[in-house]
Subunit: 251 residues, 2 copies
């Protein structure tokens, strides 16, 4: 049968797409990390809900595939977009490993990912080319992450960092900043948002690249490092795209 991989967006129901709601409503079973399942109590009426702790991504996906193989329609929910460091890829990998591609159809339902949610809160830092890089080395070797940070920094792309830091990896953001500082001014405009669009719990700040390692950044935070065109306008973080006065006059 069918599995929907559903991105719930940043968390506020105002940013959950109607199409995502519909997919969940059409499902017999909803599978997700406990704190995400809690975001959508109204949608769970009459449905089986399977929720497990953070480190059991594979277990959750296996459970979803088991249910689908029994003929059920399943939604696997996650925050942000299901395809960006989300569950969608893992579902495809597991369906392939179990040789059930023909029996289980996977449909990915897009959501607002943390990069654009954080950018909206900060102003407009992603107005031009950018790289999205996770600092978690659980599944990607640190050397590869370093290579990507170097590449993005030397080519003057804005860099959006997912999973910037955890208690176990308390120096990762500092290491990333050191790499970027080889190419960018210490005064480069940066910003970070914790719990974007989650009401009262949201906090955000615009700061410099140099100051970033000392800021209170954790796994619920998205960090954006500006490029040479990024500046502060009206207290917000804005990457200018280089509209010239002539463009403006010509309109």
């Amino acid at each position: 049968m069918k599995i929907y991989a559903v991105g719930l967006g940043p968390g506020d129901m105002a940013y959950l797409a109607p199409g995502a709601k519909e997919a969940i409503k059409r499902s017999d079973v909803v599978v997700g990390y406990t704190s995400y399942i809690k975001l959508i109590p109204d949608l769970l009426a009459g449905k089986e809900a399977i929720s497990t702790g953070m480190r059991s991504e594979a277990k959750r996906c296996q459970a979803a595939i088991d249910e689908a193989l029994q003929g059920k329609v399943v939604s696997v929910v996650c925050s942000g977009d299901a395809g960006v460091y989300g569950m969608a890829g893992l579902l495809f990998e597991l369906v392939e490993a179990r040789h059930v591609e023909a029996e289980v159809e996977i449909e990915v339902v897009p959501g607002i990912t943390a990069a654009t949610a954080a950018a909206a809160v900060l102003g407009s830092p992603l107005t031009n080319d950018f790289a999205v890089i996770s600092l978690s080395d659980l599944l990607t070797p640190w050397e590869v992450i370093e290579k990507r940070l170097n590449a993005a920094a030397l080519s003057d792309m804005v860099v959006c960092l997912y999973n910037p830091q955890s208690s176990k990896r308390s120096d990762y953001l500092s290491r990333a900043v050191q790499i970027v500082m080889q190419y960018r001014e210490a005064s480069t405009v940066c910003g970070y948002v914790r719990n974007a669009f989650r009401g009262e719990s949201q906090s955000e700040r615009v700061c410099t690249l140099e100051a970033l390692p000392d800021e209170p950044v954790d796994m619920l935070t998205t960090v954006i490092i500006g490029n040479s065109d990024t500046r502060v306008i009206a207290g917000k973080m804005v990457t200018a795209r280089g509209y010239r006065i002539t463009d403006i006059d010509e309109g």
Copy 2:
């Protein structure tokens, strides 16, 4: 007064966030490119709508600022996310140029951007680090775009291309592919989506890097170039994240 920079998402109302609808409803004036304004006729009842052709981004933003300075609440709408190559940055730039930062507040309302919309249609190509690069050299010199393509390719990031080609720039995608081919196999899995989530008009295809320049790609198309971990599963484009069997067993 206030300007909302509102991303409408890919176009299908099923992927327009309720929060974006609310911002438009709260507005006296709605400003946008004619074809985007047409997407939201139901939301325009009783409102002034200002729509102009494609090349008048700055004119549209100036008109929005004029209206806001007259005390009105204005929504500037665009497709995808307002902050990704969108109008949000330009609004900030113009408010700064006119020295009206204190009078005009800009609030960015996030939407589902083309990268994640296209990724959902193709499968799950953005499961790991990726770069978003526009091939339009209207506001960014081609040398800078080349540098970024080189950087993203050498560091094995998936690359999502916005504005990949137009009738005036018919060889840009081919030039981009030549750059990436220096670092990646000709057989690298790629995909593209035209009019993602726009009903019948949507078309998509998974192909190889080598074949990409000959595909029918235009300005309404988003192209995703896979990395060394991208493969085809069940006909979809999937970037594997490297979950090992032990992770899966441990769950």
